[in-house]
Amino acid sequence: MEHPVLMFFGVFAVGVLVIWIKSLFDEKKGIDSPEKRKIEEILQKIMQENKEFGEYVSVYAYQREDHARSSRCWYYAIALTAEKMYVVPLTFGDKEIGHAKAVVIEKDWVDKIDTGKPGGPYYCIKCMDNNGKVILDFRLEEKNTKLDKTYPVNIVQVEEARAFMQILEQWKQK
């Protein structure tokens, strides 16, 4: 091969193009994907169990922790009302989505909310108590697409994420 460097960049460019096209298809799927419906179903069940019959916004969020040679990820389904936040830890299998019991965070318990830089397409949210201790830390993305096992869902939630942020702004101004 006369130009191995050129070939390397060619292969790299094709790889990037394939991933980009895949993410476009995944975004289309994510508008009404089975994962999105399942998460909404889980939250609906949790809200009924907790006798919350008012309006709420449901979103999918995650938290990733990177170490030198490994990373850990936690996944959540979150329902937010004007007064309470229901955080449901999720577990992803190959085909199944499991959930643990919901943790309820009341507006009064949260002293400070850090929402990172304003505007989308993602928000890094930290909820802190009176002592400044972080009680919940997660990343909310408007568009989630499958990449590998660390990013297991196609969920597009542009309107939901913005509505969620609006309610959080109200929580901030209590």
């Binding site: 199944e96 989505i97 499991g98 643990a100």
Partner: protein, 147 residues
Amino acid sequence: MEKMKAEMKVDKKKLLMNIALRSILFIIVGMVPVFNQSANKTAEIAIIVILIALLVFALFPLVHLKDVLIYYDDKIVLGKKQITFNNPEEIQWSRQKMYFLGTRTRICNSVAAQRQSFMDFMLNSNMIDVTYMKDAKDTFIKCYLNQ
């Protein structure tokens, strides 16, 4: 009497695929004497030793062939290893990338999750390797979560 929730056997396709991937290394090293005819006696012996080691490495997943993973109400058992728990939400799933060999999957409780080194894993009975088990995580979700 402990109540069994589910029993899983080894995913033979996955096991064979892993052996095939490991065998690539064996084949590559096995090709060396074919292309390098001028190797001396010491090099030949070294290659044979390396080939034997690689053969053991390639066939090692076969030790899991007869493994059976059993989910009980309050514990998970695989051979002599077992994890007990009060609440299934304590159970954590750990995935470790093994480069071209794919990903290693382990189940551990929250205490064992703090220890991640290879020696910890070898010495710790609170960690179970379920890499080759069929639908281990999906079955776990069906058995313990979403109820």
